[in-house]
């Protein structure tokens, strides 16, 4: 997808000022996720689980090449086609070939953030292929023509009324249709798509090296259908998704579901080893399985000694749900497929710091995300690394630098500091309100009340 992170502030402002209902919907949904997560972990030794999960993912990442080769070998043994894509355009080329070779006209898609990352839908549509998102949330945002607003709940920014309106317009459901009625309308339309599409496209939550298994977690059954009914299944899997052993899988399935929605595990999990159908001597299932292992910036991020740990991410969305900054806007403000705290550290790593610059600064550094990450990614520290680099590369704004520079030169000289504070105290509010930064402050907040004297003065006078 295109990256629009540069206008983070403008996008955030528009969402807050022009669509206040988005803020309400996102806040309500994320708070529900947080409550469910808390309940799910209430009786668990969360520390022991997260330390273990961190070690397993770090082990996988520090032995990644070997595990990728192992997974590939297992998949090939089972008759799967394994493709390697360095970039989004590689993914496009690979898909174009599969589509052309098989005369694919219709694709059903199961939720995949990676497919959003590489802009797959517009590409396939440009090849003349009809693409239908089948996850209900993804289907909703496809109707709206929007990118996902959340890793787990792509449509959390849309209210029931929004969805009623677009379904009425596009599917002809009544204006006051119940959620059940809306879901039934989508089910009917998409059921037909499952039965007629030649190809299903999924992502992959995990890739188990030992068995070459692709594991997918969901609640609706659309992933099971997309990977079972069409003749061809294509799975897009980021190279960082590796788990070393079959025995690692059960805990990761549970930890991811608990962190995401508080469920013990998703209602449906698909663990896919190879193609089905006659190729496998099975009654049904896809005759062809194509697994596309996607780099798209991941190996560069892995090489980064300060930020590589971000690749442990299992995309549970817990850091988005807990983030008070994310809650005000939802994901669209971030202008990138991955939003919230994890998006703010992945975006500069996968796309580049210059292109995604304000994102590492789109955080108050409150630290709430660090406490909920099931694989212990030190998100605040990684945000700080990107901030540090932005300063080192001279990418921060001139005003900001000069204000901080002035601050620095004054506060490290005690005499000057005392004097500067006095002078600052003498500038009338009307002037202050127009100074850079103070202008931004005073648009929605009153300036601090003047206390008259500084503590230094009180101290010198003697404190009784």
């Amino acid at each position: 997808m295109e990256v629009h992170s540069g206008d983070y502030r403008a996008r955030a402002r528009r969402i807050i000022e022009e669509t206040p209902e988005v803020r309400e919907a996102v806040t309500a949904a994320t708070r529900t996720f947080v409550e469910h997560r808390l309940e799910a972990f209430a009786d668990l030794d969360e520390d022991a689980l997260s330390h273990w999960a961190e070690r397993v993912k770090s082990h996988a990442l520090t032995h990644l090449a070997d595990y990728l080769e192992e997974a590939e070998a297992r998949l090939v043994e089972r008759g799967a086609h394994v493709h390697w894509a360095e970039s989004a355009s590689d993914v496009h080329r690979i898909l174009e070939r599969i589509v052309r070779d098989n005369g694919v006209k219709k694709v059903v898609k199961a939720k995949s953030m990676l497919s959003e990352e590489v802009g797959l839908n517009p590409f396939l549509e440009s090849c003349g292929v009809e693409v239908l998102e089948t996850d209900l949330g993804e289907y909703i945002i496809q109707l709206f023509g929007e990118p996902p607003s959340h890793i787990v709940g792509p449509s959390i920014h849309r209210s029931l009324d929004d969805i009623r309106a677009i379904f009425h317009e596009r599917l002809g459901t009544p204006r006051d249709a119940s959620p059940e009625r809306l879901a039934a309308a989508a089910r009917e339309l998409l059921r037909n798509a499952f039965l007629t599409a030649e190809m299903g496209i999924s992502g992959g939550n995990f890739l188990v090296a030992e068995t070459g298994s692709i594991a997918l977690i969901e609640n609706e059954g659309n992933i099971r259908l997309s990977t079972s009914v069409p003749r061809i299944h294509v799975a897009l899997v980021g190279i960082e998704k590796v788990l070393p052993k079959w025995d690692d899988l059960s805990i990761f399935l549970q930890v991811t579901a608990k962190s995401a929605t508080g469920q013990p595990v998703g209602c449906f999990v698909s663990i896919i080893q190879g193609p089905g159908g006659s190729a496998a001597g099975e009654p049904d299932g896809p005759e062809e399985l194509h697994v596309v292992l996607v780099d798209n910036g991941r190996s560069r991020l892995l090489a980064d000694p300060e930020v590589w740990e971000a690749l442990r991410c299992v995309r549970c969305g817990a850091c988005l749900n807990i983030c008070p900054v994310y809650r005000q806007t939802g994901g669209h403000a971030y202008g990138y497929v991955y939003s919230g705290p994890i998006g703010a550290i992945l975006a500069p790593g996968l796309v580049g710091l210059e292109e995604t610059l304000p994102l590492p600064f789109a955080s108050t550094h409150c630290g709430a995300c660090k406490d909920v990450c099931p694989v212990r990614i030190p998100i605040p520290d990684l945000l700080h690394v990107w901030r540090k680099r932005a300063v080192e590369r001279g990418l921060t704004s001139g005003v900001e630098r000069s204000v901080l520079g002035l601050w620095a030169s004054v506060v490290t000289r005690p005499a000057l500091f005392g004097l500067a504070e006095k002078v600052a105290g003498l500038i009338p509010d009307q002037v202050v309100r127009h100074l850079p930064m103070l202008r931004e402050w005073s648009a929605g907040r009153e300036l601090p009340r003047a206390t008259g004297r500084t503590f230094r003065e009180l101290w010198d006078e003697g404190i009784e």
């Binding site: 008070p324 005000q328 108050t364 550094h365 700080h384 929605g444 907040r445 503590f455």
Partner: protein
Amino acid sequence: MRVSLFVTCLGDRFFANAAADAVRLLRSLDVEVDFPKDQTCCGQPAWNAGDVPEALRMATHTAEVFADADYVVLPSGSCTAMLRCTYPRLLEAPAVAERSYELAEFIVDVLEVTELGRGLEGRRLAYHHGCHALRELGLETQPVRLLESAGAGVVPWEMDQECCGFGGLFSVKNPEVSVAMADRKLDTLPDVETVVSADGGCLLQLDGRARHRGLPIRFKSLASVLWEARRGGA
């Protein structure tokens, strides 16, 4: 016992009376308070902005100023977290890191005083946890315990641990989101007369927003309220 007060830049400029109350409170607990005049800023604004060299300069200076202090006490959770949790990443074994305490933390954990007096009898307060105090220092129970033991009712607030939206430069780089965050705090506030916090930045943010909206809520530094607890009466 002797402590050195690190008033912090916000404390010096915007919370001078609260810092003075901290001095009064400590003295009333038989603690001798000293104020090294060479102190400036802990360097947290620069650190948060990603300006590591500037943060290092300020940290170096602060560590020197307080090199001989037995204890450094700060009326600020956030600055205490900078000294204790971030300085060790900037400086080699900074002694100041392990000797620094936020005021309420110092009173409860070091002085082992849990009752200051009964000066808050009948008061209805809400307590806002500053993020760095809460998550980096683990300062959670101490301030509330001191308020309650002085007779105050600390009213449960569902958002008491959520960020107020200040975040230093964040408040001016992303003012719309920052203000929306403050609104979320204010809109969920229970019926109380005063909101108390150990962090000046949070108080400026919440008070600035509440006044802009014309909300009749008072915001007070923990130091001042604890001094009221000790001295009695408002």
